[in-house]
Amino acid sequence: MKSFSSSSRILRKLPRKNAFYFFTSIGNYTGINSASLEEFIEKIKEVNIKSLEFHLYRGDFEEWADKTLEDKGLAEKIRSLRTLKPVGNALRDQLYFIVSKRFEEVERQTL
């Protein structure tokens, strides 16, 4: 079980340079970014599906979760999702489910 401080850390607002920037392909930035886990959940719902596919299969989501948010648990769950090779709206739904469930779990630990 995570400590209160590490849970708060996962939920923190990140500086602009550490936000997640959604691209649809190499060098093509959508203009959408998220600077916290909570924002990330919202952006999963609105960003172009091509962007979710691009980042999932490059391993960008899990890297950001692990190295920037410092949430190894979330990184591991996203890695597992990648191995299932979801595409299209199935990817969006499953990713949204994983990340929002994780958010609720971490948020509960801070209460």
């Binding site: 340079k17 920037y21 060098g27 093509n28």
Partner: protein
Amino acid sequence: MKMKNRGNVLDDLDLRILQVLQENAKQTYIETGRHLQVAHSTVHDRIKKMEEQGIIEKYAAIVNLEKAGAKYITAIMTVFTDPKESESVAERLSKFEEIIEVFTSLSEELLIIAKVVAEDQERLHSFIAHSVAPLPGVLRIRTSIITKKYKDEMFIFKRKSSPNESL
């Protein structure tokens, strides 16, 4: 023919010298003078004056990076910006060594067009994602990787011949 450039008036001979230098800057004053049928001392004086005035900025070798064995890719990056931040974004982009040319353009939206060089696609993406996208004022980015170059020349001053010369 005379051209005025911020107070510096270039006459026909200046333009002819510039044309010769742009085609081959390694020519000596004597060779240039012979080519233009003027004294080499005149060529020397004109070139020195144009250097002092900043009309001739520098002399540089144009290196064919492929032949030199450098592995790299070039991309044209179009950065859509908030009009209030556009100048600041262009200035910041100009400071990156990965970016070799920066222009602003006013079409339907205010754009910055920049030429970027990177070792490979992964480094190109990493640079854009970590250094360009986070800049305040950047709204979105479109990038095209150049696959083949058909022409890459500088604009060369062409001296327009007068109607009498063609007779």
